[in-house]
């Protein structure tokens, strides 16, 4: 026989109420009875509980007795109430609808209307319908002031200047995706630089979260061709007596640092070149399989490439005839690379060259030779540039010649060279000039001015040669990007 635990007084008193409520099991009732046989207090409690139960049974129903005259309930009353409620509800819905319509109408009438409301949100409206003029196109650029930087949109004819995003964050490094549908930029929030990106046609801003070295600024980034990844370069702290490089690329006490490849959701972060390498100028191959970049791993500038997963790092091109590789560009078909080979010598018997080769370094072809010493070496390695036209038929590059550094265009089919831009009052572009997607124009900024060059000045709807699109009243203009909806290249 199983021995039962003795029932406590509290438990017994609770069970007494369960007896009243009719929910005590037979076994529990037996146990309770045994307890009551021995416990006078609980017996007295049981008597009082039963008395209260009777009292409640008599009194509580009286609580529900109305003090008014007895009402005879009928269906007519209910039907009237149902109709009245239905009518009231309809009036309420109609009123709410009219008020909502009134508010929307008021917004529409207010200055700026819906457009102003959309502008104040975190989305960028679609590019306005292009007019017959090619110059209905638009540019996005970064303007720097002493205490802030912002991103603006402007029509290529200089009209319609508009600040993107009305918040107070410092924004820089605007980067459009290859398809032109996404925009990434760096914004500084509470001292922390963050990468934000958005779908240009109606998407909201999204944060690309990168955990390492959160307080260090981003200095460059580029979209992968499939727009699913970003290659980004984060500055690292300049360490006095620490990292030794022959050139100082210091920006606000920092230097260009590790190159990271990561997905837009912040996953699969690959640190490509190691945290102690200086890297710059990241460019994706057109198929998105490899990322090309410059680095000064051994103190000399070289071009490297790496798979998107961070594996298989290898140097690109050749060093024959030069000791350093300068600015480079990958051809649009992904088969060739153009780059400068620099001797870094003042000996006029040496030459610097602009070469074209296959990506594995074969079939190297010298496109142009320059007398050594004419180049500003540091500038050419870091800020120099060469770039293919969108159809790959022409090469834009900086040429050091007797007329000082000029912007030239080399036809790769005919070998014909054209002086595209030289103005000793304006100077050379501070940043890499950007081809318009149709290859007809080149946008670049120098100092505080933003210019557009016409590659074919004889076209009827083109500017005569170049136009100044904008002049900053701040410190200067940073990155420039073309914002074009239709990226289809026209046949020429």
């Amino acid at each position: 026989m199983v021995e039962r635990a003795a029932l406590s007084h509290d438990q017994a008193q609770e069970w007494i109420h369960r007896v009243i409520d009719g929910v005590l099991t037979i076994e529990q009732r037996t146990q309770l009875d045994e307890h009551l046989d021995e416990c006078g207090d609980c017996r007295l409690y049981a008597v009082q509980a039963q008395k209260l139960d009777r009292q409640l049974s008599r009194s509580v129903p009286l609580l529900g007795v109305s003090m008014k005259e007895t009402k005879i309930y009928g269906g007519a009353d209910l039907r009237d109430r149902l109709r009245r409620r239905s009518k009231n509800r309809m009036i309420a819905y109609t009123t709410i609808g009219l008020i909502t319509l009134g508010i929307l109408f008021g917004l529409w009438l207010s200055p700026g209307g819906f457009e102003a409301k959309i502008q104040s949100s975190d989305t960028i409206p679609r590019t306005p319908t292009a007019s017959s003029s090619e110059f209905a196109r638009q540019l996005i650029f970064e303007e720097r002031h002493s205490d802030e930087s912002n991103i603006y949109r402007i029509n290529a004819d200089g009209s319609g200047l508009e600040k993107l995003y009305s918040d107070n964050l410092n924004k820089s490094l605007p980067r459009l995706s290859p398809g032109g549908s996404k925009l990434a930029f760096v914004a500084v929030s509470k001292g922390t630089p963050e990468i934000l990106f958005t779908d240009l046609f109606g998407g909201r801003l999204q944060l690309l979260s990168v955990d390492n070295e959160k307080d260090l600024p981003w200095v460059d980034m580029t979209w992968s061709p499939d727009e699913q990844k970003l290659a980004v370069i984060r500055a690292f702290k300049a360490i006095s007596g620490g990292i030794q490089t022959r050139r100082s690329f210091t920006i606000d006490g920092t230097s260009e640092g590790p190159l990271l490849i990561l997905n837009l959701d912040g996953s699969d972060v690959v640190e490509v070149a190691g945290s102690h390498n200086i890297t710059w100028s990241p460019q994706w191959s057109p198929d998105g399989q490899r990322l090309y970049f410059q680095s000064a791993v051994y103190g000399f500038s070289r071009i490297y490439s790496v798979r998107a997963d961070g594996s298989d790092i290898k140097s690109v091109g050749t060093l024959s005839g030069g000791v350093e590789q300068g600015a480079f560009a990958i051809s649009p078909n992904g088969n060739q690379i153009a780059y400068f080979l620099l001797s870094r010598s003042r000996d006029k018997s040496n030459v610097d060259t602009l070469v074209l080769s296959s990506l594995d370094g074969d079939n190297t072809q010298v496109l142009r030779s320059f007398e050594a010493g004419q180049f500003d070496i540091g500038r050419t390695i870091r800020f120099g540039y060469v770039s293919f036209s969108p159809d790959g038929s022409q090469l834009l590059y900086v040429s050091p010649d007797s007329r000082a550094q000029a912007l030239k265009l080399l036809d790769l089919t005919t070998g014909e060279e054209t002086l595209l831009f030289y103005d000793e009052n304006i100077g050379l572009p501070d940043r890499r000039p950007i081809w318009s997607p149709d290859g007809k124009y080149i946008a670049f900024a120098t100092g505080k001015k933003l210019f557009i060059l016409s590659v074919f000045p004889n076209l009827p709807d083109s500017p005569t040669s170049f136009i100044q699109v904008y002049e900053s009243n701040g410190l200067g203009i940073g990155s420039v990007q073309w914002l074009v909806e239709d990226h289809t290249l026209e046949s020429r």
């Binding site: 509580v60 609580l63 109305s66 007519a76």
Partner: protein
């Protein structure tokens, strides 16, 4: 099952505005809902009006009535929710009245009582008012309307043990109040 089908049919006909169905529904549940409202409400004088509103609300919400449910229990659960809302609104109103009375340095006169009020009624009324809502509702449903513990569970949506414990604590407190051991 016959009763269940009948209930479903009745409430559907009510929703369509069938006057005979509404008549039957009102006669069947009106007095009981009024009794429940009268016991539940802080202002029982409004019980008849509230009862009508509860009946209308139940018809309007009939789309949520499921076949197999007890119509009486379902109407009770709607009544309990409505009375709770009314009490909350009444508490807010009373609070405003008190504030305004204080501002005007006057006194609000609560009309209480009537020829039919007995001493027992008053004692019980007073004691019941001191219970909080969650303890008062099972007592009203059990003693005022004869609902079993299982039915109270369905009306209030709480478990059996919870209902039993609430009944136990409510009775214990009422006992203390009625015996003068608690003011």
């Amino acid at each position: 099952m016959v009763e269940t089908n009948y209930s479903t049919d009745l409430i559907e006909r009510c929703l369509q505005g069938d006057i005979s169905a509404l008549d039957e529904y009102a006669r069947r549940f009106g007095p009981e809902v009024e009794q429940l409202a009268c016991a539940m409400l802080d202002s029982p004088m409004n019980a008849q009006n509230v009862a009508q509103e509860i009946l209308v609300s139940a018809v309007e919400a009939s789309g949520k009535f499921r076949v197999g449910n007890d119509l009486r229990i379902w109407v009770f659960s709607i009544a309990i929710n409505n009375c709770r809302k009314k009490n909350r609104a009444e508490q807010v109103r009373q609070c405003l009245v008190d504030v305004l009375s204080g501002l005007l340095r006057g006194q609000s006169n609560h009309i209480r009582g009537g020829d039919r009020l007995t001493e027992t009624w008053l004692d019980m009324q007073t004691a019941m008012r001191q219970l909080d809502e969650k303890h008062r509702i099972p007592i009203i449903l059990h003693y005022g309307h004869g609902l079993s513990v299982a039915e109270i569970c369905r009306v209030t949506g709480v478990g059996e043990n919870t209902v039993l414990l609430r009944l136990f604590h409510a009775r214990a407190r009422l006992n203390r109040i009625l015996n003068g051991e608690e003011s």
